[in-house]
Assembly symmetry: C2
Homo-oligomer: 197 residues x 2
DNA sequence: CGCTCGTTTGAGAGGACTCAAGGTAGGTGG
DNA sequence: CCACCTACCTTGAGTCCTCTCAAACGAGCG
């Protein structure tokens, strides 16, 4: 989802700096705002009892996040945290709903965007349910390519830990699996930078 | 998502009988229709290389399914199969889009519905990523309660196999975990029927 | 009675996880 | 320019537990 910056401001949206590591909203809290990234990146995640973090999504420039609970009047199930110093626009819920009402194209954008998230979640579920670490990784990388986040033969901008948190594995397992994948010629590791072939 | 039956018919929707086990659409095929359940239940699932089935959703009376790929012009990533003898309405894509255009309330319903699916997927991801079988089961049961599919102290209408396919485990593991949960007093098994306490 | 489908139990193997210890690169400050 | 720090990566050894495979039991039904 993306709403024109000027429109957001017109309806009372406010740009806000968020430092790396700062929390935008957290699990169980009540949604009150619509959020859209102007600069930087926001990580959406949840943690289980053992403290293991599951990254559910990462939003960057131009993308909004956290609408579903806002629209459904339910509490957040996930937390949002800045992965780097970022800027976001914050818009009161009422004003967001007003934009939706008064601009029909916004509704259509929202539909497209939500449909895309459902679609992506389908893939994510298949990755998480897959019992083989190497297949998980390959599917994860394929997904990143589909989403235009990475391209083949260029360094992948994720740490081993981040990959692990995306697909539900431990760092060590990711490292060992990447080694196997390299032997199979599916990825290449050039001084620690991971490349997908 | 739910569209009024008469409206569907007005726009050219056709009711269709689907026998148990019959496929409505399958992975990799091209979406051409909007589907809505009239009677029975449709299972949405995908299978991995090892033939293990992952149930992603089950839709019943009044619910539609399969819109995201339809709206995004992408191929299905999942298959849809009747779990029992069912009746669905099939509506051509163009006509579905026309309904969306000409009935603003439909758009809003669609938004709500998609938001709900994203929300549910968030929970599903947490379940799939959880490494402990017993926690998976408990979270799964809690989700069924939230969705009003089951209530406490009544028999749960799922086979062990179905539960396993929902949460990414093997039947045997589900059975053994249920025994532990019974010992902990969290569920009760009355001649094979599972009850959540 | 004899299918068929779902449930259950046992034994064994494999592999992800855990824990612990080092290694390496890039940045910072003296 | 070098020493140091920190974050990330890597390796090893051992445990645990899910999965696999095989077999059998129970319930419902024609």
């Amino acid at each position: 989802m993306h709403i024109d910056y000027d429109l957001l401001i017109t309806y009372g949206g406010i740009a806000k700096k968020i430092s790396k590591g700062e929390i935008v909203f957290s699990e169980n809290s009540i949604p009150r705002y619509y959020y859209q990234v102007i600069e930087g990146s926001i990580k959406i995640y949840s943690s289980n009892k053992q403290g293991k973090e599951l990254i559910q999504d990462i939003y960057t420039k131009g993308q909004s996040f956290g609408e579903p609970p806002l629209l459904l009047n339910k509490n957040y199930l996930i937390s949002a945290e800045a992965q780097e110093d970022s800027v976001i626009v914050v818009l009161k819920k009422e004003n967001f709903l007003q934009i939706l009402n008064e601009h029909n194209d916004t509704q259509q954008n929202l539909i497209k965007d939500l449909a895309e998230r459902v679609y992506n979640n389908t893939v994510a579920a298949q990755i998480l349910a897959n019992p083989l670490p190497e297949e998980k990784i390959i599917k994860f990388l394929n997904q990143l390519i589909d989403k235009n986040i990475i391209t083949k033969n260029t360094p992948i901008p994720y740490t081993r830990q981040q990959i692990a948190n995306h697909i539900g594995l431990r760092v060590e397992t990711v490292i060992r699996s990447l080694n196997k994948l390299q032997q199979e010629g599916k990825v290449k590791i050039i001084n620690r930078k991971l490349h997908y072939l």
